[in-house]
């Protein structure tokens, strides 16, 4: 959503640009501090010394949705939280991605009841689902890398 | 390098001074009136500096220095007053500051 609309189809140049931009987006993907429940603890563990997501340039957890690229929905989303989550998602600037971390965020998990959204994909579009209750930090990192893979295959025409 | 006639500088100073007067007379927002006062002091400073350059008199620069200090003191007091008035009256409209007791 930046300058790319104006570039149009410029063949090799745009392909190179596409690679460069995708590379930069994967390497500087700042997640939003969005811990909800149990998975947030494992997300913190993934940030911490043993797993160290900062290797991928992801330690700059932004508290403000305006400055984040990636929303890791770590935990169950209740009916009360859902609208808040959507508002935060709307406040994030494009391009933005969502990882549904854990079973609760992916599909409701064990909480199949009135209070919990049966998967955060009912509220926001999800790019990567990470299974586990809660997923191990390795699982989250794998999810992030899967997302990187996905971003790396994004086409310039899709950006705008 | 061509030169600037000092009268031009004085004219600029005069214009700024007049604008400051207009602000003081016409504005009702006490803060803006204050700013206009600063503007007037500033235009006076400009005249001083011009004369200092014109007559090669460094003393005029020293006077400007004093003016600045006094202006700073004035602002400190004035803004403190303003805060106090706002606390009691919930307004900084000059037209409402017509009674001695708040």
């Amino acid at each position: 959503m930046g300058v790319e609309q104006k570039l149009g189809n410029m063949g090799v140049v745009t392909t190179r640009l596409e690679q460069l931009v995708n590379w930069s987006r994967t390497n500087a993907m700042w997640p939003m501090l969005f811990g909800l429940a149990c998975c947030a603890i494992e997300m913190m563990a993934a940030q911490a010394a043993n797993y160290d997501m900062s290797r991928f340039g992801m330690e700059l957890m932004r508290a403000s949705p305006r400055q984040s690229d990636l929303m890791i929905v770590a935990g169950r989303v209740s009916r009360k939280m859902g609208p808040v989550l959507r508002r935060l998602y709307d406040q994030m600037p494009y391009p933005k991605w969502v990882i549904a971390m854990g079973d609760c965020a992916s599909c409701g998990g064990v909480f199949n009841n009135y209070a919990i959204f049966q998967g955060v994909d009912e509220i926001v579009p999800v790019d990567v689902y990470v299974a586990g209750c809660p997923p191990r930090p390795e699982g989250l990192i794998h999810g992030v890398l899967t997302l990187h893979d996905k971003v790396n295959h994004e086409k310039l025409s899709k950006w705008a | 390098m061509d030169s600037i006639p000092v009268s031009y500088l004085l004219a600029l100073s005069a214009v700024l001074f007049v604008l400051g007067i207009l602000g003081v007379l016409l504005k009702r927002n006490a803060l803006v009136v204050f700013m206009s006062l600063e503007l007037m002091l500033n235009s006076g400073n400009l005249a001083f500096i011009s004369f200092a350059r014109s007559f090669e008199a460094i003393s005029a620069q020293v006077v400007v220095f004093f003016v600045m200090t006094v202006a700073a003191a004035e602002v400190a007091i004035g803004l403190a007053l303003m805060v106090e008035i706002f606390r009691t009256k919930h307004s900084i409209d000059l037209d409402q500051m017509n009674s001695l007791k708040g």
Partner: protein, 180 residues
Amino acid sequence: MLVVFFILAFVAVGTAVSMLVTRSSIYAALFLVLNFATVAVLYLILGAPFIALTQITVYAGSVVVLFLFVIMLLGAERLPGGESLKWQRLVAIGLAIVLSADFGVKMIGENTMLTSVTAPPEGYGAPAEIGKILFTKYAFPVEITAVILLVAVVGAILLAKPDEKPSVREGLRKKMDQEG
């Protein structure tokens, strides 16, 4: 040089007028800063670098920041502007015209005794020179200014201090203790 002066003069007058015209106090303060900055550049041209930088430090760095601070603190961003009495406005403009005319006449009449400004001589307006004259010839005024500043600071603190209890916080704690 003259071109530079005209540009600066234009900016100075423009910002001053904008300051008066704008209805937002924040913008007024910002225009004032711009005005001060342009005047500071004029000081530089006039060979007064010390005064120019002091002007920026004192006026732009402290005075107007204080203005902004107070505006934000009071939430007084948008307050009624110059909607005062009709005759007052007319009188003010009339006075302004008279004053300008007076100035103009004087200026044209006595233009001859004023020289033009060229590049300042070496060492003119240097801090050492100003310092020397400040602390010898004007030592007494310096002391008086110092006293004025001190009085102003003490006065400002006294004025802005909340008059009731020691502090809001203490009062709250006390109230809370009473309520249990």
